[in-house]
């Protein structure tokens, strides 16, 4: 098999496993803290929001102190987790969207578990020299669809969280906004689908060539 393909497959696998392990170790403390908070019997709503200063970007509306020299510093917060105690009841449309998002979150969880299996099956086929194969092309298409799905769900989650925040909270110096800029996943998904189509055409050409006597 092509040595470069094998090398790239190994590098990609190492990076992927490292990212997964690093994320797990980083998030264990957060998971534990969140779980302990959740056990407390106080009605609360946790909001994940993106913020923009009311007076525009780079206006640094928030102050804090540098404990190194006790100097006042200005800062600007771009994203925050806000915990609202005893929140008022959300309107029905927002509640319905929220539960729809929870349902879609399970779909994301399944896709997140499925994605590495697809990925490693492709690597295994590549290591056996079967890159241009119908099964591999279908798996690449599935990866592309999953990545686009991740972006769409991300945006929907931001929208619902922002709607909840707008309803429950008003901040003195900041407005909430929906961040659409996570285009990396969307672009990667579309490029993956494009690659799958190119490989489909390549497969047809190969089959025709194989049947050229």
């Amino acid at each position: 098999m092509n040595k470069k393909i094998k090398l790239y497959c190994i590098i990609l696998s190492v990076i992927y496993i490292s990212v997964v392990v690093y994320t797990i170790f980083r998030e264990v403390a957060s998971f534990s803290a969140g779980f302990n908070e959740g056990l407390k019997d106080i009605p609360r709503e946790t909001l994940h929001v993106n913020l923009i200063p009311k007076s525009g970007g780079y206006s640094f509306p928030t102050s804090t102190t540098n404990i190194m020299d006790n100097q006042e510093m200005k800062m600007e917060i771009q994203s925050a987790k806000i915990m609202v105690f005893h929140p008022q009841k959300l309107p029905l449309p927002i509640t319905i969207m929220y539960y729809a998002i929870i349902f879609l979150a399970f779909a994301i969880l399944i896709c997140t578990i499925w994605l590495p299996f697809l990925f490693f099956k492709i690597i295994r086929s590549a290591s056996k020299g079967n890159i241009i194969d119908l099964k591999v092309i279908k798996r690449i298409k599935k990866i592309g669809i999953i990545l686009v799905f991740f972006y769409v769900i991300d945006v929907l989650i931001y929208i619902v969280e922002t709607l909840k925040a707008e309803y429950l909270v008003k901040l003195e110096h900041y407005n909430f906004f929906v961040d659409f800029s996570g285009f990396g996943t969307l672009i990667l998904g579309i490029v993956t689908l494009l690659l799958a189509e190119i490989l489909s055409v390549t497969l047809k050409m190969k089959e025709e060539q194989d049947l050229t006597i």
């Binding site: 089959e207 025709e208 049947l211 050229t212 006597i213």
Partner: protein, 68 residues
Amino acid sequence: MPIIVNLDVMMAKRKISLNELSEKIDITPANLSILKTGKAKAIRFSTLDAICKELGCQPGDILEFTEE
């Protein structure tokens, strides 16, 4: 496909088997069989040349066009 391959007809006329023809024109029996059964997508001129030389015929004796 509107192009019909009449290789089996010519082979029967010349009384030559698939294996003999494939040996003489240096094509595998599997590939020649693909051609004979009409499953081929394309034929090279070099292959057509070799078949016509061996069977002593014209390309039109091997290939026939029909309306679908």
